[in-house]
């Protein structure tokens, strides 16, 4: 694979994560931190950036180790790798950004079970080269960061009249408190989701190509909207089913 080829692939992964397969607005993954920590733009950005770092590094390492990790224990292996990075990031946050660590609280350790990270490890990094896996992680992380910052910004402006802690609304504006509470997160997420669908559908009507980039097959047929794809499948053909594993162990006993 030539250098130019891998470079285009890298750019394509970034666009894919930011727009085409945005983890929050398109894949609808990682809803727990999305709804819980986006009470302000800063919190949203912090959560997104933390996830970005963990996602990029774990994708890289998993891709490097993809030929060593046995298929049957890949999920525990992924979790160990992800958890290591989360621990590192949490210690760094505690040391250098304690205010952010306090604001995000339990949601930092919970990045371990964030389904975006596990999802990318399983569907992309485990079957692709390290460079494109790294950029896939960065793209997905950026998409997550942008989405969370947007949600956080809207909630902060409507709920407190500020953005990144700076007052921007006029004095006469009464903050609408519900937007920094739990229901506000659902309202804002739904409206932003509807808006991006609206833009995409209008784009499709105008004749723009909104289907996924053909060569960027993530082997993730569950979440792929590509029609008429010959590779379409839901499970790996050579994947051993759990039932078979069980019968084998029983035989051994």
């Amino acid at each position: 694979m030539g250098k130019t080829n891998s470079m285009t692939s890298a750019g394509e992964r970034l666009v894919n994560g930011l727009v085409k397969e945005n983890p929050t607005f398109v894949l609808m993954l990682g809803m727990c931190p999305t709804l819980a920590v986006t009470t302000s733009a800063m919190n949203g950005f912090g959560m997104g950036a933390t996830t970005l770092v963990v996602l990029a590094l774990s994708n890289l390492i998993i891709s490097l180790l993809r030929n060593i990790i046995p298929k049957k224990v890949r999920i525990p292996a992924f979790i160990v790798i992800i958890a290591s990075f989360v621990t590192v990031v949490q210690l760094l946050l505690e040391a250098y950004l304690p205010f952010l660590n306090d604001a995000l609280g339990v949601y930092i350790p919970l990045i371990v079970v964030n389904c975006i990270i596990l999802g990318r490890a399983e569907s992309y990094a485990y079957s692709n080269s390290p460079v494109s896996s790294l950029f896939d992680g960065i793209g997905m992380g950026l998409g997550f960061t942008v989405a969370l910052t947007c949600i956080g910004a809207v909630r902060e402006v409507l709920g407190t009249g500020k953005i990144f802690g700076a007052k921007i609304m006029p004095q006469a504006f009464t903050p609408i408190g519900i937007f920094v509470l739990a229901p506000g997160a659902f309202f804002v997420l739904a409206v932003l989701c509807a808006l991006q669908n609206f833009v995409k559908i209008r784009g499709a009507r105008a004749g723009k190509d909104t289907s996924k980039i053909g060569s960027g097959c993530s082997e993730d047929c569950m979440h792929c909207g590509e029609k008429g794809c010959g590779k379409r499948k839901f499970y790996d053909d050579d994947d051993d089913l759990a039932v078979e594993d069980l019968s084998e162990t029983e035989d051994a006993e």
Binding site: T174, I176, G177, I178, F179, P183, F187
Partner: protein, 312 residues
């Protein structure tokens, strides 16, 4: 052979009762409460009512324009606006009704598919939205006429209240909730016209009274009991909001279950909760349980699933 039977598709039984007529009846029945609110709190109450109704009707009109299906003529937006306005404290800023009206119609009603599809009473959902968003503005009942707390808050603080004033309505509170006499007069009209029946309001009020007697901590204190019944939004909620056709159970047994649930929840909120009032949250919670209540209380169709057939 001339045809004596006309064959047509259903519905075969036609009724003169239309959505429009029912909504008109509800508006008429709400007028005594609204009128008393204006008499009690002054011209600002009228302004609140006009702004809120204008906001709901305009929102429904604009959404209708966008969807190319105008639905304002069924008057349901007027009812929502009127109910919401009657739930506002008179001292609140005037824009609050406008914002609540937009939320009630756009978010709670139209985005879920319009009249008949909303899973919550739009007026109450908007009231809860405003109450959570602006707790200070929505619970400030001081105005020109009254400076003290609402009777329920006074009752919670252990102070004495004048029950006669509460029944007539000369107390602080939201615009339309204070006068038990005016609300019951409107409710009688609805019952006479057959728009509502006593199943939900009756089981609601009776179960609430029993709850207060059992857990109110005052024993058989009828002064306290009647103050609890006449105070706050209980009467308005029981007769006008819990009976909303869209968000109440359709089965007869379900309506009793619904009413008893509301009574118990209101009692829990009022006696054990931090606030003095709990009618709106009780009804909203009840609305959410309606599909479950209907599922459990659906009557058995004739000839199906009897003792010999074994229920699934």
């Amino acid at each position: 052979m001339d045809r004596k039977l006309k064959v047509s598709s259903n519905p075969h039984i036609r009724s003169k009762v239309t959505t429009n007529a029912i909504m008109m009846a509800v508006v008429l029945a709400l007028l005594p409460a609204a009128g008393f609110g204006i008499y009690n709190f002054g011209i600002r109450a009228l302004l609140h009512i006009l702004i809120t109704v204008a906001s709901t009707v305009l929102t429904e009109f604009l959404f209708g324009l966008y969807k190319k299906k105008l639905t304002i003529t069924d008057l349901s937006a007027v009812v929502t606006g009127l109910l919401l306005a009657l739930n506002l404290p008179v001292g609140a800023p005037l824009w609050i009704g406008a914002m609540g009206g937009v939320f009630a119609i756009l978010v709670v009603k139209m985005l879920f598919g319009g009249l008949g599809q909303n899973f919550m009473n739009p007026a109450l959902a908007a009231r809860c939205f405003l109450l959570i968003s602006f707790p200070a503005l929505m619970t400030n009942f001081a105005c020109d006429a009254y400076t003290g707390a609402t009777p329920l808050a006074a009752l919670k603080a252990g102070e004495a209240v004048n029950v006669t004033d509460m029944i007539i309505g000369r107390t602080a509170g939201t615009i339309g909730e204070t006068s038990m006499v005016a609300i019951v007069a409107g409710a009688c009209l609805l019952i006479l016209l057959g728009v509502i029946d006593l199943k939900i309001p009756g089981s609601y009020i009776v179960s609430f009274a029993v709850f207060v007697l059992l857990f109110g901590g005052r024993g058989l204190d009828f002064q306290y009991l009647s103050a609890q019944l006449a105070g706050g939004g209980l009467m308005l909620g029981a007769f006008f909001m819990a009976t909303d056709y869209v968000t109440r159970p359709i089965t007869s047994r379900g309506q009793y279950v619904f009413g008893i649930f509301l009574g118990i929840m209101t009692g829990i909120f009022r006696i054990f909760g931090p606030g003095a009032e709990g009618v709106s949250y009780a009804i909203i919670l009840g609305n959410l349980l309606v599909p479950l209540i209907e599922k459990v209380t659906m009557p058995r169709a004739f000839g199906k699933g009897g003792a010999g057939h074994g229920r699934k």
